[in-house]
């Protein structure tokens, strides 16, 4: 199995639950890391590997929902599988709306847990891939000169060379040169691709 490259985080205040789930998931080949306090998980340095968080809702101090929020605000994108001995429907709806992969009642059946984790890991892989791609594009943006970046923004907004030239009060030829360098540095084959890259790098919002 290819589970060895993936890490499962478990946050549950019951140390025995942590140990038991850890044993079970390790038997499936996952890397497992357990935390009994939400705060410890937040301060932990997350390696860039496909991962999944198995999270108990009832926790002292910071509960599961609060941790979900804190993760979002810190940009920790690990998909969450909630587990609870208390759950009801409104709670699960709340969890799912906030982007959880699944919401499982305790005690957990092996099959359901494994299904949810598999789903979370594949989501994590897609997210990681996307993040890597964005990071790559952002690195390309960084090597653009200030003028090239400016021209890039205008082009991404769909402006023609002539319009950009008159807006900036520069010769058409100069704009053409800048534009050529932008295409080259961003590794874009055509304008359509360049606009896509601009969107992914967050230079323009998708509506534009």
């Amino acid at each position: 199995m290819s589970n060895s490259g993936s890490t499962i985080y478990i946050v549950d205040d019951d140390i025995s639950v942590c140990r038991a789930l850890s044993l079970l998931l390790k038997s499936y080949g996952f890397n497992v890391q357990t935390f009994t306090r939400a705060a410890d998980f937040l301060t932990f340095k997350h390696p860039k590997v496909p991962s999944c968080l198995v999270l108990d809702i009832r926790l002292p101090n910071i509960n599961g929902f609060a941790l979900q929020k804190a993760m979002a605000s810190r940009g920790i994108i690990t998909p969450i599988v909630f587990i609870t001995g208390h759950g009801d429907i409104p709670m699960s709806v709340k969890a799912m709306k906030a982007g959880a992969v699944d919401f499982l009642p305790k005690p957990l059946t092996e099959k359901k847990l494994l299904n949810a984790i598999t789903q979370a890991i594949s989501k994590s892989k897609i997210q990681n891939k996307k993040q890597t791609e964005i990071a790559k594009i952002k690195r390309r943006v960084k090597i653009l000169s200030p003028r090239e970046l400016e021209v890039f923004r205008f082009v991404a907004k769909g402006m023609l060379n002539k319009q950009i030239a008159s807006r900036r009060g520069t010769a058409l030829q100069t704009i053409k040169v800048h534009r050529g360098r932008v295409m080259q540095k961003m590794q874009a084959k055509n304008v359509t691709e360049l606009i896509h890259l601009a969107q992914k790098a967050g230079l323009i919002s998708p509506q534009h």
């Binding site: 025995s16 038991a20 789930l21 079970l24 038997s27 587990i83 208390h86 005690p107």
Partner: protein
């Protein structure tokens, strides 16, 4: 000579006549004075009589125009006939004046009136005592009404009871309102009891599901580690797994059984809700000599919530305050206030001047089974907080700078589109 004599006689006669006239005149004058005095006395007496007649008239008029039923019964006749009944009494009983006068007083309350009370009143009249009580009575047309009745004896100068005067009030509406309040209080108590049990089972379920989760996962991990070795051991592990799941099933069913009745979320005016809740405990507050003070901000947005559940929270907080004031001499006051926290949030606070909460107990306050009361279960505040949280609000507590504590909770304003 004869003439002389005659003249003399005449003279003397004249003299005598003169004397008589003076005497008569004196008499007349005296009689005139007496007459004048008598006349004055007579006039005076007539005025007095007129005055007392006027008073009688006013008293009768007053008795006729009051809303209380007033009647007088003859206590010396065996069947207690009514000799006077005002208009309100006629209206209350449904009988006309003619149907009432000289009739047996007790017959006017209908044949279905409570005989025990009727007998008690008869005994009271025999003993010449007073009666004060409520009785279900029946009008002429059979309609029921609750009759608050007070009767008292009227004695003659010798101290003998000759009559009884009675006043009665129709308290049907008041009783209906009291009944309604009792019912609401009972409903709330029931909901609270069910809520406590559900919360208890829920937290018990949580506590038990933790070790069940661990046992299940340990057994499953062990099974996987054995792979295809030790089939007997694998079978035993499977039994452990099955029984673990059986226990989990029992808890699950118990939880479904005690599931809180689905809450009814509606748009509510929080101030109205507080006023309705206060009515339910007003008597309790009076008995305990506690003053409930309200400071409700007007123009607050409507909130979205379950009426019964929010009342439960308010009652819990207020009755906790009652307990906190138990040994306070003064001031015995609870302040309930509402205010707008921001555009979409309303804050409700319940402040008492009681004994306060030791700082080290505050973090434990909302946890299950924590209580500082001898007969407490430690469920009230934890239920209250979970109700507020299920409404999307928060509940907090602070010790006041002087004395006592204030509990706050927030609740979101309802949005029409939800």
């Amino acid at each position: 000579m004869e003439n002389k004599t005659r003249t003399k006689k005449r003279l003397s006669k004249n003299r005598a006549q003169n004397g008589e006239r003076v005497r008569l005149e004196g008499l007349v004058r005296k009689q005139a004075v007496e007459l004048k005095i008598k006349n004055g006395q007579l006039k005076n007496g007539m005025a007095k009589q007129a005055k007392s007649e006027e008073q009688v008239y006013i008293r009768t008029k007053a008795m006729e125009s009051t809303a209380e039923g007033i009647f007088i019964i003859d206590a010396q006749k065996p069947d207690f006939p009514v000799i006077y009944a005002n208009q309100a009494f006629q209206k209350m009983t449904g009988y006309s004046k003619r149907e009432i006068l000289d009739q047996n007083y007790f017959a006017l309350y209908g044949v279905d009136a409570d005989q025990r009370i009727i007998n008690e009143i008869k005994n009271v009249i025999h003993r010449g005592e007073t009666f004060h009580g409520e009785m279900l009575s029946f009008q002429k047309n059979g309609n029921k009404y609750w009759n608050l009745l007070r009767i008292a004896p009227v004695r003659d100068t010798g101290g003998v009871v000759t009559h009884y005067v009675g006043i009665q009030t129709d308290v049907t509406l008041m009783r209906a309102r009291e009944l309604e309040i009792d019912e609401q209080r009972e409903e709330l108590l029931h909901v609270t009891r069910v809520g406590k049990l559900a919360e208890f089972v829920s937290s018990l379920a949580h506590e038990i599901s933790q070790p069940l989760t661990a046992i299940l996962s340990y057994a499953q991990a062990a099974q996987r580690m054995l792979m295809d070795k030790e089939p007997k051991l694998r079978e035993i592990l499977q039994y452990i797994i099955n029984d673990d799941q059986r226990a989990a099933g029992v808890i699950q069913r118990l939880r479904v059984l005690l599931k809180k009745s689905s809450s009814e979320m509606k748009l509510l005016d929080i101030n109205t809700l507080i006023n309705e809740t206060i009515v339910l405990i007003a008597t309790d507050a009076t008995v305990r000599n506690i003053f409930l003070k309200l400071e409700l901000e007007s123009g607050l947005p409507l909130v979205r919530g379950d009426r019964i559940q929010l009342q439960q929270v308010l009652l819990n907080l207020i009755s906790n305050s009652f307990d906190a004031l138990e040994n306070n001499l003064s001031p015995r006051e609870i302040l309930i206030s509402t205010s707008r926290k921001d555009a979409d949030t309303v804050t409700v606070s319940v402040k008492d001047s009681g004994c306060g909460i030791p700082a080290h107990n505050i973090p434990k306050l909302f946890t299950h089974f924590f209580t500082s009361k001898l007969d407490g279960l430690g469920m009230g505040l934890s239920i209250s907080r979970s109700i507020i949280e299920s409404h999307g609000g928060r509940m907090e507590v602070k010790n006041n700078p002087d004395h006592g504590v204030t509990f706050y909770f927030t609740i979101s304003a309802g949005k029409k589109d939800v």
